[in-house]
């Protein structure tokens, strides 16, 4: 028998300690699992619920839902149910006048003439469960919850930089299209006529030779009902008023020079482009109102989405979507 001392790893006390520690961890882990289960509220969609939703669908649409439509109806109901429960948990329905009025109306139907004070009546209505499943109460609770979620948002006061960044991130949406401003000389006639084209070329030659300014040059042609001095317009706007051909030509014509003859439905034009502007973002000041509106909308949508997602994490929805899809209701 050896007289060597056993290593620390082989010490019984260490083994005992490690075993104990293991037991504690397992126990705590189990407790954590059990605690999570207990904290997670169950939202169960049973056959009765599906029957009710199908019936409501039929009342609204005059026929029963398909499988996919049933899935949609169930999804909408579960989200509403999550919100209703949360609103109740937060006490958002207490002292709500809309809900109280609804409960009083329902109680009146059931127990007309009951000699009770308002508060007693409300208590009685709750005791009878008149708030359960009531669509007006549910809708109001959802509304109150949304207000609660949005209550801390406060006024949206983005900085100028934030507004500019927002606009730039959506520049396609906010940018004005490319635009052009031009004069045009108009010659009326049949565009298939060679004579008209010759007149146009001769006119152009004269305008160039005489160095005629465009505002005077337009008078050498024929009158045009929409005028000769066309302000900044996009290609789409020009096409709508002047036709596609002239609109395209205005965007391709040189600046500060008379173009070659361009045909339109009405005759031939010589175009003098004064200014061409690329697509640009308007001054932020012009967009501010529109941007604020959209930023607010997005902020609210995101707040609701995050809040609803957090609700879903805390609650478990039990529903067989495959079975719902397979449903065939008449």
């Amino acid at each position: 028998m050896s007289d060597a001392k056993p290593s620390r790893l082989r010490q019984p006390w260490l083994h005992f300690l490690l075993l104990g520690l293991l037991l504690v961890l397992v126990d705590r882990g189990l407790d954590a699992f059990v605690v999570a289960e207990a904290d997670r509220e169950i939202v169960r969609v049973d056959e009765e619920r599906v029957r009710i939703l199908s019936s409501e669908f039929r009342r609204l649409h005059g026929r029963g839902p398909t499988g996919e439509e049933l899935v949609g109806a169930v999804t909408a109901w579960t989200e509403e149910e999550l919100q209703v429960r949360e609103a109740r948990r937060l006490g958002l329905g207490e002292n709500d006048l809309v809900i109280q009025r609804r409960l009083l109306d329902k109680l009146e139907v059931l127990e007309a003439g009951a000699d009770l004070g308002i508060d007693e009546q409300i208590e009685r209505a709750y005791a009878l469960g008149l708030d359960h499943e009531d669509p007006i109460v549910r809708r109001r609770l959802v509304q109150r919850l949304e207000t609660y979620w949005l209550a801390d948002l406060g006024s949206l006061r983005p900085s100028e930089q934030a507004v500019e960044d927002f606009v730039r991130s959506r520049s396609e949406q906010y940018a004005t299209p490319a635009r052009v401003r031009f004069y045009h000389v108009f010659l009326r006639g049949d565009v298939s006529s060679g004579e008209l084209h010759e007149r146009a070329l001769a006119l152009r030659k004269g305008l160039v030779a005489d160095r005629v300014a465009p505002e005077a040059g337009v008078l050498r042609g024929d009158p045009f009902l929409l005028g000769h001095d066309i302000p900044l317009r996009s290609e789409e706007e020009l096409a709508g008023s002047f036709g596609v051909d002239l609109a395209t030509a205005a965007f391709e014509a040189p600046i500060d020079r008379w173009s070659e003859p361009v045909e339109s439905k009405w005759g031939i034009h010589l175009v003098w482009v004064e200014e061409r502007r690329e697509s640009e973002l308007p001054p932020t000041e012009n967009l501010r109102l529109r941007v604020l509106r959209e930023m607010e909308l997005l902020r609210r949508q995101e707040t609701r989405r995050l809040a609803l997602a957090e609700l879903k994490q805390r609650q478990e929805i039990i529903v067989d979507f495959d079975k719902l899809r397979a449903e065939r209701t008449s």
């Binding site: 005059g62 669509p135 009902l225 929409l226 005028g227 709508g240 339109s264 439905k265 012009n286 509106r293």
Partner: protein, 669 residues
């Protein structure tokens, strides 16, 4: 050069100097110098006559809101008659649109829209998109039942399961029409549905919410920036239909300052009650509130839209006639349910009146509709207005012309013949390759001549009637009348500037001049450009321009239609004419308007009837719904057109006590 000519030139120069001074510039505007150089020297005319036609104060007093501001006005195209899911009949027509006012404005601005039928998940069966967005639009849902419709779609509301709501949600006309339209088509004064509770408070409360949503959608869609890309008007339809006669009117507000609840036919069953409500609740009750009331579909009114009496049967007197003129300066002469200009054989032999004629006189599906009445048509109403002017000193029917779609798919301005997909939900839905019936047409458009595309500028133009209607196409049309308009105006580069300077535009009232131009017949200058169309849908050339003249002779209104340029069988890309009335008699009240006709073209149904293999000689083989392919009311070709607002000429010297409608309107505001 004669002494008279020298005097004329001198007087015109004086006018130019006055204008220059008014403009605040040391130099005469270039355009005016050039115009004066080019115009023929007009005999007669006094400085006063010319100066009185320089609306300088008016023009320079107008606030400028937009980057694009045209002193001599530009044309803006739009639709003032649009229905969305807020209207009860968009639901019971079936396959119903779910598009709300916001979706309608989005469509008008060029975004796509889903068209009925919709499935239960809200997915549309087809889509549409305008090739050319509109410049302005107004959603005009039926104010009757605003609240009721919303209640019928609010589960849990006490009214949700009411029989009327159940009928509405069935979404078919057989169930919905008798319940929802029936009360509007019977004797006036029908009560609201029982579920509206005592005093209708419940339904009116909810109606207020719907109206606020309507207003909010219009405000959100209106471009408030100086780009002025799109304008909207807050509006609704008053659906008067007593005893089956269509007396419908659209109410278009000037601004977002509007009454809390729109006054519907259920609340005000007589049109005078509507006017009184607007006077009290809008003009007098709210700052910056004003409105125009636009009657439509007189073709279905059984002659009752333009009777010379108030709704209770009292013949017009000067006051009631003036009130009608004040609130109703416009009429919708063209829309989805037909044209209401005129009808051959009813006060006219004008064959071109046979355009988009409904087959019956009644909107109601009654077995023996009454015969069509003469006063169902706008031209006859205008003529009656002249007669009443001579009698009362006021013309109650001094109305300019607008066009609209009356779409019930929220598809504002969707007037293309080539791609027409119906306007009446499932009643005009699409079978493969075609509509399920040959019914109504794609509708018309309103074109407003205004300084800029702002609500204020457009509304002022509506009130002064400087507007014209089209049958859905987009020709550009100008119309001026004046004693001093030169005969060579069409060859000048200043058609509009000189038109304004020397005359009045469409919708105006042309007083006889004083002085040396006393005996000069009025000239009417009209110029039109054909609609260029789009790549997919090219425009059609112009055939001719006509002027329709009416006057009172021996107490009876007469009419005459004159081809002033172009002619039957001709075609041109642009037309212009200055026409002098050879029969001008200053002692006669008269009006003149221009009608611009395109060359004949194929209507929307012609292709579909052909594609469906309809052979009219074999009626037994015609597919169901296409029987009207062979109707006399559906010719194989038609002529799209535009109608300018008239120019009126009071008698000169004026009848005792005569007041122009504009005088009346301005004194009432």
């Amino acid at each position: 050069m004669s002494l008279r000519s020298i005097c004329t030139v001198a007087l015109v120069a004086i006018a130019a100097t006055v204008l220059t001074a008014a403009l605040g510039s040391a130099e005469s505007p270039v355009w005016l110098d050039q115009a004066l150089d080019q115009m023929e020297k007009v005999p007669g005319g006094t400085a006063w006559d010319i100066q009185s036609r320089i609306p300088v104060a008016e023009k320079f007093g107008f606030p400028r809101n937009c980057d694009d501001y045209d002193f001599f006005r530009s044309p803006f195209f739009g639709d003032l008659h649009v229905h969305t899911s807020y209207s009860m009949d968009t639901i019971y027509f079936g396959g119903s649109t779910t598009a709300d006012p916001t979706a309608a404005y989005d469509f008008a601005r060029g975004l796509p829209i889903g068209l009925p039928p919709f499935d239960a998940a809200g997915n549309p069966a087809r889509f549409a998109q305008l090739d050319r967005p509109l410049d302005f639009a107004a959603v005009t849902d039926h104010a009757e039942y605003f609240g009721e419709v919303r209640i019928c779609y609010s589960p849990g509301h006490p009214g949700y399961d009411a029989p009327e709501c159940v009928a509405l949600r069935q979404r078919n006309p057989a169930a919905g029409f008798p319940v929802w339209f029936g009360p509007l088509a019977g004797p006036p004064g029908a009560p609201r549905f029982d579920f509206c509770d005592e005093g209708d408070a419940n339904c009116l409360d909810v109606a207020g919410n719907v109206w606020e949503d309507t207003r909010a959608a219009a405000m959100a869609a209106d471009d408030p920036t100086s780009a002025c890309s799109f304008s909207t008007f807050v509006g609704y339809e008053w659906t008067g239909n007593a005893f089956g006669a269509n007396l419908h009117r659209n109410v278009i507000f000037k601004s977002d300052q509007v009454p809390e609840i729109p006054v519907s036919y259920l609340d005000a069953p007589q049109v005078e009650q509507l006017h009184d409500s607007l006077q009290a609740d809008c003009l007098e009750g709210l700052q910056d509130c004003d409105a125009v009331v636009i009657p439509h579909n007189s073709n279905y009114s059984m002659g009752r839209m333009f009777l010379p009496q108030t709704a209770d049967g009292t013949p017009f007197d000067a006051e009631s006639a003036a009130r009608r003129a004040q609130f109703e300066p416009l009429v919708e002469i063209m829309q989805h349910k037909g044209a209401s200009e005129c009808r051959p054989g009813l006060g006219t032999t004008d064959e071109l009146c046979a355009f988009e004629v409904p087959a019956t006189s009644s909107l109601l599906p009654i077995p023996n509709p009454p015969p069509v009445e003469s006063l169902s048509f706008v031209r006859n109403a205008l003529k009656l207005g002249l007669e009443l002017d001579t009698e009362l000193g006021v013309n109650p029917f001094q109305m300019g012309f607008v066009g609209g779609t009356d779409t019930h798919n929220a598809a504002a301005g969707f007037t293309e013949e080539d791609s027409y997909q119906g306007h009446l939900a499932a009643l005009e839905s699409v079978l493969p390759g075609r509509l399920n019936q040959v019914g109504n047409n794609p509708g018309g458009l309103t074109v407003i001549w205004a300084e800029e595309n702002s609500r204020e500028s457009l509304f002022e133009a509506l009130q002064r009637r400087e507007v014209y209607a089209t049958s859905g196409n987009r020709p550009v049309v100008r119309f001026f009348g004046g004693h001093l308009i030169p005969d060579n105006l069409c060859s000048l580069h200043f058609f509009a500037p000189l038109g304004y300077l020397l005359g009045v535009p469409m919708g105006g009232v042309l007083d006889a001049p004083h002085g040396l131009a006393w005996n000069r017949a009025p000239r009417f200058a009209v110029s039109a450009l054909m609609d260029p169309g789009t790549s997919d849908s090219p425009g059609h050339e112009l055939e001719r321009i006509q002027i329709v003249k009416a006057w009172v002779e021996n107490d009876v209104a007469q009419e005459r239609v004159i081809d002033v340029v172009g002619g039957r069988g001709e075609s041109s890309e642009a037309l212009c004419a200055v026409w002098a009335d050879p029969d001008y008699d200053p002692s006669q009240v008269a009006f003149y308007y221009a009608r611009v006709l395109e060359v004949p073209s194929e209507p929307w149904y012609a292709q579909q009837c052909s594609a469906a293999g309809v052979v009219c000689s074999e009626p037994a083989l015609i597919p169901p719904g296409l029987e009207r392919c062979c109707s006399e009311f559906r010719p194989p070709q038609h002529q799209e057109r535009a109608w300018t607002s008239p120019i009126w000429m009071p008698a000169h010297p004026p009848f005792p006590g005569h007041k122009s409608a504009d005088d009346v309107a301005s004194s009432s505001r």
